[in-house]
Amino acid sequence: MRLPSSMHIAAREAQGLLWSPSGALIVGSFWVSAGLIFMLVLSRFREALILTARQPNLQAGPAGLHINDWVIAETFNYTGGVLLILFVPLLTMRSFAEERRTGNLELLMSQPLSGSDLLIGKVGGAFLALIGCFSIFLIQAGILAWITTPDWPAALVGLLGLTLTGFLFVSFGTLVSILTRSPIEAAVLSMGGLLILLTGPNMVSSAPRWLRDAIEFLSVESRFRTLTSGILDMGDVAFLLGASLILLAVALRGLDLVRWQG
């Protein structure tokens, strides 16, 4: 079966990212960071269990001390709130900015490819590389299955939330990469933009009610956290997908501009 050209580009991009020394460095660093987070929350959970066993009146209530609340959701929250902001720009910064800098973009544009094929391929490649980074969660899942009894459906919903948020961030990073000429500039602007996207809503807690409601609607973090806590909220899924699509549509128009601007 012949794959669409966008799939070819995606596979080539992912391979270029993961099978390169810099890609391995990115993936290895992501694994170290995710491992640190996992160890931190696991140790905290163990301490809480010991403390609760010593002082039964500290029992946390109906939910008890559950591995999903203390370790799985927290690992996803820290990953989404910190690691994605740092690592997604590293995966997307080169997708277009590097091609523009080296002049390869003109070469690519001269191929019988539509802009959407190229964009889907680049976004798909970065997203696949991100999924490669997420593969550490398989190891962590194996460890958790060995030492405790997690609530797997809730964990899968959390992973879905992390994946959708990752896709949104990749779309944003790609858009920034299209609009800039240097990978470093793309990475810095993407990190800043993602930081504002994620933490901005928390910074305006004293704004008027209507503004807070509007910002709450646009808050990626609260939607992401809802999913990681094990709630499959269709509104959150629609928001994350819709926002990604809007960013991709804008990115495609940006690519049009770049194509004709030369």
Binding site: A24, G35, P62, H66, T148, M203, S206, G235
Partner: protein
């Protein structure tokens, strides 16, 4: 979408974003009234507006170029689909469709709560006061989310009183680990953060009938409108209680709207007819608060004994250090926090209670069938019962009880409220002292809180709701310290090293 020559505007955009973030960060640290964050906000907005104005021509030009040169493609479709999904997300925010994927179903309310709250029409505000780093936080967040998404007119908020004291003060001086439930002027504070208590509180504030507490007055009792009790009276009224009086004529046939009859410090005994009227009132689900001083026959002794509360005619003299340290006289009795029972009235009291000239009150060794009681105030172990007047010891030196709380199911009418019936049950609180309600003692230590919680408990309404048993189970962790170390090396050394080695191999190969 700026051309290269226009990239000079980028630093200004970044500066504006940086100023916005710094302002927000400073405001979260210094509170909403601080001036510097506001100045930074103004500066950030000014930079943004000026940059956009200066770059307006370039932005228009870029947009025009896009319109002219864009190739036909799916961007319009993507944009439309994205907007449809965003509108759907907004719609789903109003009427959410969500599935609780957890096995424990911790994000869903029980069917009992859903049914009970289906008819709630008022706008309800729920504010939780929990520290951000408290282990309760996760559970409280889940609970607030569950209420917010189940009942459309419930708004929720969580405040860390230590990090956001200004916001906490907007709600009075809330205790930590409580949820305040408010509908209009009706407010209730829930300190047992469990679904049954929160649902009951919502139903109560939704139908905020002010309870009436009536004081008997014809036997030398104090009444709240008499001099010397202004603080106590103010506290009752401020907590949403209507205060009334019952003379002998009213007492014979206690009106239905009265929820609690109070007999506070009588100096002569109530008449048998009056006691019988109180008995009938209790049988139909009324509540009684009796503050009975030593050396006085109140007339209520037989009634209370028939319900399992003993009132020996003696006075407690506490020779413990705590009571003596008060320097209020020989008859002062300090009930330390350790002497407070694990009961709704006393559980959350932060300070002990100070009584003066106190009568012994205790539950009978064999409780009356169908009643549920507990001695709520216990002295230290150096308390001695003495005969009032002569001060002759008539019992051993040990812990004695100075107050008792009792409740039982009653056969009274079930008042429907919002389709949910109220549970009829009677309650009695007997305290062996009335002096602590006087202005000179009322402000001491935990006295006002104790009085408040006594009347809160007595006036409480409870709805007939049957909640399912909650799953308290957590998850075990079958790993030792050395197991954790192994996991550490696997996570942080083995797998990352494999990735780095692969990268190094690729680098060597390319060279």
């Amino acid at each position: 979408m700026m051309q290269e020559s226009d990239s000079r505007y980028l630093p200004f955009l970044v500066l504006s974003a940086f100023l916005f973030l710094t302002a927000g960060f400073l405001q979260s640290l210094s509170g909403p009234e601080a001036i510097p964050p506001k100045l930074l906000f103004v500066a950030a907005a000014s930079v943004l507006v000026l940059t956009l104005v200066r770059a307006a021509a370039q932005l228009r030009h870029a947009a025009g170029r896009v319109r002219q040169l864009a190739e036909p493609g799916p961007s319009g479709t993507w944009l439309l689909l994205g907007l449809i999904l965003m509108v759907a997300a907004a719609a789903l925010g109003l009427q959410s469709i969500r599935f609780d994927a957890t096995e424990r179903k911790i994000h869903e309310l029980s069917q009992t709560s859903k049914d009970a709250l289906a008819e709630v029409e008022s706008d309800i505000e729920m504010v939780a006061f929990v520290r951000d780093n408290d282990q309760l936080r996760l559970r409280v967040d889940a609970m607030l989310d569950a209420y917010r998404t189940t009942v459309s007119n419930i708004r929720t908020r969580r405040i860390d009183p230590e990090r956001e004291p200004d916001k906490a003060r907007e709600y009075g001086t809330p205790q930590i680990n409580t949820i305040l439930v408010r509908a209009g002027d009706a407010t209730e504070v829930v300190d047992e953060l469990l679904e049954p208590d929160v649902t009951q509180a919502i139903l109560r504030v939704e139908d905020p009938r002010r309870p009436t507490v009536a004081f008997t007055i014809d036997h030398g009792e104090f009444a709240p409108d008499r001099p010397g009790f202004t603080n106590f009276r103010s506290q009752l009224i401020d907590s949403g209680i209507d205060v009334g009086r019952l003379d002998s004529n009213d007492l014979i046939n206690i009106p239905d709207h009265i929820r609690v009859v109070v007999v506070a410090g009588p100096t002569t005994a109530l008449l048998p007819g009056e006691v019988q009227a109180i008995e009938r009132f209790l049988i139909r689900g009324g509540r009684l608060a009796a503050f009975l001083d030593p050396g006085v026959e109140s007339g209520l002794e037989d009634l209370l004994e028939s319900r399992g509360i003993l009132l020996p005619n003696n006075e407690i003299i506490d020779e413990g250090q705590l009571s003596r340290a008060l320097e209020l006289g020989d008859d002062a009795v300090a009930i330390a926090a350790l002497g407070l029972a694990d009961h709704e009235i006393t559980r959350q009291l932060a300070a002990g209670v100070v009584l003066r000239s106190t009568r012994e009150v205790s539950l009978a060794p064999k409780p009356i069938f169908g009643t549920n009681g507990i001695d709520i105030l216990k002295t230290g172990n150096r308390a001695v019962p003495v005969e009032p007047g002569t001060r002759t010891a008539n019992g051993p030196r040990r812990v004695h009880s100075a107050a008792t709380a009792l409740e039982w199911e009653a056969n009274g009418p079930r008042t429907p409220a919002d389709g949910v019936a109220e549970r009829p049950y009677g309650r009695i609180v007997v305290v062996g002292d009335s002096d602590f309600l006087r202005d000179d003692l009322f402000g001491l230590y935990g006295n006002p809180a104790f009085a408040s919680r006594v009347f809160g408990w007595l006036t409480e309404r409870e709805f007939l709701l049957k909640f399912p048993t909650f799953n308290f189970a957590g998850t075990p962790l079958k790993v030792s310290g050395s197991g954790l170390t192994a996991i550490f090396y696997l996570q942080l050394v083995v797998f990352p090293l494999l990735a780095f080695a692969f990268g190094f191999f690729q680098w060597i190969r390319r060279r």
